[in-house]
């Protein structure tokens, strides 16, 4: 049996109490929501928190509340399954629905939460292995070792942000709320991520993610495209989220966000700007895809080959644009 290491366990009833426990327990405490990411990591001894603060009993992290303007506030503790089954999400936010629907498997979506998918630990072929495997390579920089095995001369860790929902939420302009004993802060979700495989979140250790707010999308259309080996279970190894708002048949505003091609999501500002004011044609889509392809720098540390993953970014940006363009 691969057993969990021992830990102290707290199960508070409110987000405020969670923040209070985190403040008292210090940086060695970790939050657990669905457990689908953290428990496997604990069993493989990647993450060994001295204290677990469970969100299972916290009631104020639940709910999907639609505003009268069409915006929505999603509690961070909402299970992925609840989002998938919400007709509002499927109807008004199809890219988010697609991303959620493609996370792992139905049974894991029953357990995993949206907050957990946003804060998902970064992944790497040299890290997501059992203890004996990692000991055999003398560990890696992300856990117990000194070297990043995918880029041994690099001073940093290149583990991959493998969240499906994050690129979509960035493209949709979502904001997140973080609560700690020091107060409440709200920030654009894009600012939650840091380009480092180890310190990949701007969320402090004493902060708990409580909610995600997605502004009304109006007539804007969005799509999510994911590359993975199998139709279930697998994390993305190249992910593309695109949101386009149109004025007639011309693009009024555009967002193109990549994920799983680096330690942090990639916001393709140059590619998106190239679309504004234009009619999306096959040629323009190919040109924009070429611009979006440049900042994607996958390394050889996930499933499938990294050059093919990079190529698939270009393919999927083009396909996403053509899928969203009116009349194509």
């Amino acid at each position: 049996m691969m057993r969990l290491p021992p830990f102290r366990y707290h199960a508070p009833d409110t987000a405020g109490e969670v923040a209070h426990v985190l403040a008292n327990e210090g940086p060695e405490a970790m939050i657990v929501a669905g457990g689908t990411d953290l428990y496997p990591n604990m069993k493989r001894r990647h993450q060994m928190p001295s204290t677990l603060v469970s969100l299972r009993r916290v009631t104020d992290l639940a709910g999907i509340e639609w505003g009268s303007d069409g915006g929505v506030r999603i509690g961070a503790g909402q299970t992925l399954r609840a989002l998938e089954r919400d007709p509002g999400v499927e109807g008004a936010l199809p890219a988010l629905w697609t991303a959620v629907h493609q996370i792992s498997t139905p049974v894991l979506r029953n357990m995993g939460t949206i907050g957990g998918n946003i804060c998902l630990d970064t992944r790497c072929n040299y890290y997501n292995q059992n203890y004996e495997w990692r000991r055999a390579i003398n560990f890696c920089m992300k856990c117990e070792g000194d070297v990043c095995w995918v880029a041994p001369s690099s001073p940093r860790c290149w583990a991959v942000n493998s969240s499906d929902t994050v690129p979509v939420l960035i493209a949709l302009g979502a904001r997140v709320t973080l609560v700690s004993d020091r107060g409440v802060r709200e920030l654009p979700i894009a600012e939650l991520f840091v380009d480092d495989g180890i310190e990949y979140l701007a969320k402090q250790k004493d902060e708990v993610l409580t909610s995600i707010e997605i502004p009304a999308q109006g007539e804007a259309r969005s799509v999510y495209r994911k590359v993975r080996r199998r139709g279930a279970f697998d994390f993305p190894v190249a992910a593309v989220a695109v949101r386009l708002a149109f004025d007639g048949d011309r693009v009024e505003s555009a967002d193109i966000v990549l994920n799983a091609v680096g330690s942090t999501p990639v916001v393709c500002t140059d590619a998106a700007e190239r679309l504004v004011g234009e009619v999306v044609t096959e040629d323009l889509a190919a040109e924009v895809a070429q611009v979006a392809w440049k900042p994607a720098k996958p390394l050889d540390n996930t499933d499938l080959t990294h050059m093919w993953r990079k190529k698939m970014v270009r393919v999927n940006v083009k396909r996403a644009l053509l899928e969203l363009a009116p009349g194509t």
Binding site: L4, E28, R44, Q47, V107, L108, N110, M111
Partner: protein
């Protein structure tokens, strides 16, 4: 990496005593607080029908129903199950005979080595409770978290469809 100072042994070796509601029966159990529901079921309650496979959420054989929804017992703590209605394969048969899903799994060869079967049965039961007449497409999607290396899945889908038909006709 978060590498915490290990909690003092005395603090984590103390068993928690709690009531778990398994297969409709409330039972008093004592177990270590870092044990998963899978470990508690198998080791502290002697309910070994639920199997341990990958123990990392990648195979589905440890699936149990928690308040009617399939969940992986290897990724839930026993202490997180306070007040939750847990259903395992041991609770499937009610009355004299096996559950129709169990009968059809046996009759159609949907269980070969049998190791994945408890997980498939629990997921299948929850599917049929939600939708008594699921399409093949829905079955494939809903069962995508349960792996089987023997049957090639076809016999499993056919057994569930046959059981669903029996259950629909039986309830009319």
């Amino acid at each position: 990496m978060t590498q915490g100072s290990a909690p003092a042994a005395a603090e984590t070796r103390r068993k928690v005593h709690m009531q778990l509601l398994v297969n409709g029966e409330a039972q008093e159990v004592a177990f270590l607080p870092h044990k998963t529901l899978l470990e508690v079921l198998r080791e502290d309650m002697q309910l070994t029908g639920t199997k341990h496979g990958c123990e990392l959420g990648e195979c589905g054989t440890c699936t149990v129903l928690m308040d009617g929804e399939p969940m992986l017992s290897c990724l839930v703590l026993g202490i997180e199950c306070d007040g939750v209605e847990i259903e395992t394969v041991e609770g499937m048969a009610t009355g004299a005979g096996p559950h129709p899903l169990q009968t059809w799994f046996a009759d159609l060869g949907a269980a070969q080595c049998g190791y994945c079967t408890p997980g498939f049965l629990m997921t299948a039961k929850s599917i049929l409770e939600r939708d008594p007449n699921p399409s093949r497409e829905d079955l494939v999607e809903e069962l995508s978290g349960n792996l089987c290396r023997c049957t090639g899945y076809l016999k499993i889908y056919e057994a569930i469809e046959a059981a669903a038909k029996d259950m629909r006709e039986g309830s009319q």
